[in-house]
């Protein structure tokens, strides 16, 4: 698959970016905050304090976004002709590292505050009522792309497994090291989809086979791919990027 040039360039750079992040994170943060120190006249030992302030503000922003979020306000839907072709691949690793999951033996594990903890094969999930949507995927990096996903409305799935919908979070663990979590209000939003298809085809590996959660009211990184386990909980589960500093709620 080839990617349109500007997108490809942006993605390549972002790949590099992400790999360099951890290495650079400490150094650069120190440098920039050092510059601030000069400006504000604070002591260099205040670096931790600055981060504490921005981390506390990020928590505050979680609350603000939860208040702004409406379960009845729908993300705009688009026409087939608006779909971004090809749809960009994005992960914290390169395309050749996409995890392989065997669809024949795959079972979605369900745990936590649910009545029915039985695992689900792909055929069982495909037998449930399906829905599809053409929505805009907005990446935390700034780019966006329109795609078409189909699968099981997540709310219907949560109801079917007898999830405690008064619990605070739904968490996900993926076939790679990825993990993420959602607030219950977003999990119950009518457009939140347990996606099994992309563009009417079985979800290809690079877009998250065997399934991803498609949430058009969240930034892209809140849409976990290759989901192996999901659980309902009241204990904050965090997430791969969230634990590194991306805002947890990250609604759009």
């Amino acid at each position: 698959m080839t990617i349109e040039k500007p997108v490809a360039r942006a993605l390549l750079r972002d790949d590099n970016d992400i790999r360099k992040i951890e290495r650079r994170l400490f150094l650069k943060q120190t440098l920039s905050v050092g510059a601030l120190t000069l400006l504000t006249g604070c002591d260099v030992t205040d670096i931790g304090a600055v981060q504490k302030v921005t981390a506390a503000m990020s928590k505050w922003n979680d609350g603000v976004q939860a208040a702004l979020f409406s379960q009845t306000r729908l993300a705009p839907e688009y026409a087939e002709s608006d779909i971004t072709r090809p749809f960009p691949f994005n992960a914290y690793y390169k395309r050749d590292r996409v995890p392989f999951v065997d669809g024949a033996t795959y079972k979605l594990e369900v745990s936590g505050l649910v009545q029915n903890k039985q695992s689900w094969t792909l055929d069982q999930l495909r037998a449930l009522p399906q829905a599809s949507q053409i929505t805009r995927h907005v990446c935390v990096e700034g780019w966006s792309a329109i795609g078409k996903w189909g699968g099981v409305p997540f709310r219907a799935f949560l109801e079917r497994i007898g999830a405690d919908t008064r619990a605070a979070y739904v968490g996900f663990k993926c076939a790679d090291d990825y993990y993420s979590s959602l607030d219950m209000a977003t999990a119950l939003h009518p457009q939140t989809l347990l996606a099994l298809t992309y563009a009417d085809q079985t979800l290809p590996p690079q877009y998250g086979f065997p399934m991803k959660l498609r949430i058009p009211t969240k930034l892209g990184f809140k849409n976990p791919k290759h989901i192996m386990t999901m659980f309902v909980t009241n204990d904050y589960p965090g997430g791969y990027w969230e634990d590194k500093g991306y805002n947890w709620f990250s609604g759009s």
Partner: protein, 220 residues
């Protein structure tokens, strides 16, 4: 020099400061907040540039995308609340009407040419027409950056806002353009302050030392 000296020299006695206290507080808090907003915004832009360039990383704040986003969405509260206080004060107290109005194109043209010829007089406490235009312009750009910023931040929850700007991608471009206008203003603004540095103290303390009602030369 004591305050009494100043009062003696200025006629009539300067009962009111040149710049109201609230305007001064707004101004410096805003400059502080803008520093973080612009620095972190440039780092966020770099994660996925709209145009064929990136900002020099050493001029950005946050260290990486996640850090920059945290700074941006923390400083935004300071910037927006501070700005709302200033806007409400500016309209309600008559400060905007008194200081920025009237604004006539021919005055702007006249003052612009006088400024180029270095013949524009600076009356402390009175903004010339070029300044008025610049200040009104930057206030419009500041409102525009908040408007487009809300659309970029919440393109679903604030989809009507986003729609007025041509959707999420349109709002991103408007946000960038508003930033560019503000940066252009800051460069002009700092140049003018550097040319007429005696405007600086009144913006800090409200009044200048041993000031006269009218001083000659330059704009700020």
């Amino acid at each position: 020099m004591t305050t009494a000296d100043i009062a003696d020299k200025s006629s009539p006695p300067a009962a009111k400061p040149i710049h109201p206290r609230l305007v001064r507080w707004w101004h410096w808090i805003n400059a502080f907040a803008m520093f973080f907003m612009i620095g972190s915004g440039w780092r966020i832009y770099n994660a996925s540039p709209i145009f064929k360039f990136r900002f020099i990383e050493d001029l950005t704040i946050g260290g990486w995308l996640g850090g920059a986003l945290q700074v941006h969405f923390a400083a935004m509260w300071l910037f927006v609340i501070n700005g709302l206080v200033y806007l409400i004060y500016g309209f309600v107290s008559g400060h905007f009407r008194r200081s920025f109005w009237p604004l006539r194109p021919r005055d702007v043209w006249r003052d612009f040419n006088l400024a180029l010829a270095a013949k524009l007089e600076h009356h402390t406490g009175v903004y010339n027409a070029v300044q008025r235009l610049a200040y009104i312009g930057v206030i419009v750009a500041l409102v525009g950056i908040v408007y487009s910023g809300l659309a970029v931040w919440k393109p679903v929850q604030f989809q009507t806002l986003a729609w007025t700007l041509g959707g999420y991608e349109g709002a991103r471009i408007v946000h960038f353009l508003a930033m560019s206008a503000i940066v252009a203003f800051i460069l002009l603004h700092l140049t003018l302050v550097a040319l007429v540095p005696r405007t600086l103290l009144p913006m800090l303390w409200g009044r200048a030392r041993g000031e006269h009602k009218t001083d000659g030369g330059g704009v700020s």
